[in-house]
Symmetry: C2
Subunit: 390 residues, 2 copies
């Protein structure tokens, strides 16, 4: 194992261990980088393809106990040479900024994590997330503003959208390609005979996540209002994270059931048969609530053991009651020319019933994959920084 | 609670409890159906929309301790009347077949579950999963055969596909709409300068699941060969379920790490930034292995705690070594006019390097969502049975 060489007084201090190097940052905290980890993350053009920016290095060809032949810190970063049998590698360089951004310690990972702010009905308003359509279409700043609202609050509202058929696709494609589903590339929400979906009736729709029977329900939903002059037909938005947090506070056992017990969701028609099992509440590895799969109309038949079914039902009804409470709901009228854009994993949407004889209510909707939506936001935020350095 | 009425001697016996009815099937086994469960699954037109086949019933309006006012078994099934305050309900009927198909007991659910058969290289051959393209395009039987191969072994091979550009889309759309990704609606696999993906180089590709950095990697992959007369460029298929099973047998601790420890996968380019965390092995709630997310080129930087990183790396390398062993791999030459169709969650694919100066190798590929693929298979299997009765 080589002794580290410190070439620059202002750079982090290096301390070599048997299998790793500790970096003591100027602020005083330490990070440990395993030599194997460093070797695997070599970005020289023999180890990482410079255009594809994918690793070409063969993991199994690296000795798991590899140690550097030299290790040097200068003002820019850490330079490592590997033993001669690693012939193809041109030597590794890691900037301090890159190393700091990729510290593997759990607290560093948690500090990097973006956490959304949950909200209740009173905390929210259409105006607070509204962005003008022409600004979104014509400027990167306007687009970034729209996307950031969806990341933070789960919802944005584009205003001044032309009340034209297909305009929802134009807006969605400003962000990424359209995510198709068994209801098509886009869909028209209006009352019609022989509705293959409750949305296509004038009935009330209770708060739900769309297409909950899909293994991967669609990511970001766009609902564009072309016309709305009916009696009734108000829109409702609910933050599912806030609802699940409320349940966790008031009844932790119920929360645990919904976060751990998988149940079946099903959608059947003459043309499709989409059945999957999942939990009602989606919690990530750190215990953070990321969303729900709440859709009573598509739930079941519930196939949890009869002995625990009643516990499941009580928990499910508690969450439904929270999501249905006026406290949690933001109720508004979606006007012609407005398009609501929301994270379908996080935000429940609903509508009140309407009288189809009183006028017309016509929305058009589509989806964009969450990954491609978040990717667009990340690329906009780079603002000229080299993608290889992020 | 009403005493059950038995109208038909041949029908299952009914025994009423406080909160549920036990059905004693003619074969002797019993199933328990909670009254609440039965009420929730009422299929009368007031409770379930007859066209949309979605529940319109409001869960919160059902008393959780509901009991039937009458409960009658006849030759066809179970008839239930609910108390008068449940005014809108027209009364419930459940056929014995439907009840038996939806028993909630865990062993009943496990018995209904389709489990694929895992395979190693020697167990597999192109010929065993080959279906003629015209048979697939022109007959439901041919299509069903293709889809069933993918369900059972994870792979099918369409032969005699026209070696035309875009033919892969025609085949995919015979099944469902095309699942787009950040590489487009379809992609061309051939060597080119400034490749934005290792597949577009003549390099070897190690066994991998495609687009592993996506939160939901694409479902079913189609790879259609238009031309392949290069030296090298052989194709490889590996059953990831068999690999993960082998790891579980030989090193259960390594298996548990890969099934439980989430790591980051990243794909970055000037145009996208797709980063997600997931486990390497995907295990369902019953402990059944459903697939992997194995893609060393896109892995990391690995952000598990430095103290446990070496355990993670050892486990990952063990799985890579299994997937790279000749024992597990089926190696073949994908010829012009053949299209391999495979489950991207279950099947790892790879190719050997080739000499781009020796000829041409050109594939076109696309994806179809797994849900829509499985839906098509389920609908074909209905063979005229009413979807409401399934």
């Amino acid at each position: 194992m080589a002794e580290p060489v410190q070439e620059s007084a202002g750079a982090p201090r290096l301390e070599a261990d048997d299998d790793s190097v500790r970096v003591v940052w100027p602020e005083g905290h330490e990070s440990r980088f395993l030599y194997y980890w460093l070797r695997e993350n070599c970005h020289c053009s023999a180890c990482t393809h410079p255009d594809a920016w994918e690793r070409t290095l063969d993991f199994l060809a690296i000795p798991i106990d590899i140690t550097p032949s030299s290790l040097t810190g200068d003002a820019a970063g850490l330079h490592i040479e590997w033993p001669a049998h690693e012939a193809s590698c041109e030597g590794s360089f890691y900037s301090w900024a890159w190393l700091e951004a990729h510290r593997a310690e759990r607290e560093a990972r948690l500090a990097r994590k973006r956490r959304p702010t949950s909200w209740q009905g009173d905390d929210f308003s259409k105006a607070s997330v509204a962005v003008d359509y022409s600004k979104v279409m014509e400027t990167d700043g306007g687009l970034l503003e729209l996307l950031a609202h969806v990341e933070n609050t789960g919802v944005a509202l584009a205003t001044g959208v032309p009340a034209d058929e297909g305009a929802v696709l134009t807006l969605a494609q400003r962000i990424a390609f359209v995510e198709e589903s068994h209801f098509g590339r886009y869909f028209q929400v209006e009352s019609k005979p022989h509705a293959e979906n409750l949305a296509y009736t004038p009935n009330a729709l209770r708060p739900h996540n769309d297409l909950a029977s899909r293994r991967y329900p669609p990511g970001i939903q766009f609902l564009h209002c072309l016309r709305n002059d009916v009696t009734g037909g108000d829109s409702v938005l609910v933050d599912a994270i806030a609802c699940a947090e409320a349940l966790r506070r008031t009844d932790d056992c119920a929360f645990e059931i919904l976060a751990n017990c998988q149940v079946t969701f099903a959608s059947r028609s003459p043309d499709w048969h989409i059945v999957n099992r999942a939990t009602i509440i989606d919690v990530d590895e750190d215990g953070d609530i990321v969303g729900t799969r709440l859709h009573p109309a598509l739930l079941g038949p519930v196939d949890v053991e009869p002995d625990v079914q009643m516990d499941f039902y009580r928990a499910h009804r508690e969450l439904l009651a929270i999501a249905s409470s006026t406290e949690m709901q933001y109720r508004f009228r979606l006007e012609a020319g407005e398009c609501q854009v929301f994270d379908n994993r996080r935000i429940l949407h609903a509508r009140s019933s309407y009288d189809p004889a009183s006028g017309h209510r016509m929305l058009q909707g589509c989806y964009v994959c969450r990954d491609d939506f978040m990717s667009r936001l990340a690329v906009l935020r780079r603002k000229g920084r080299e993608f290889r350095e992020i």
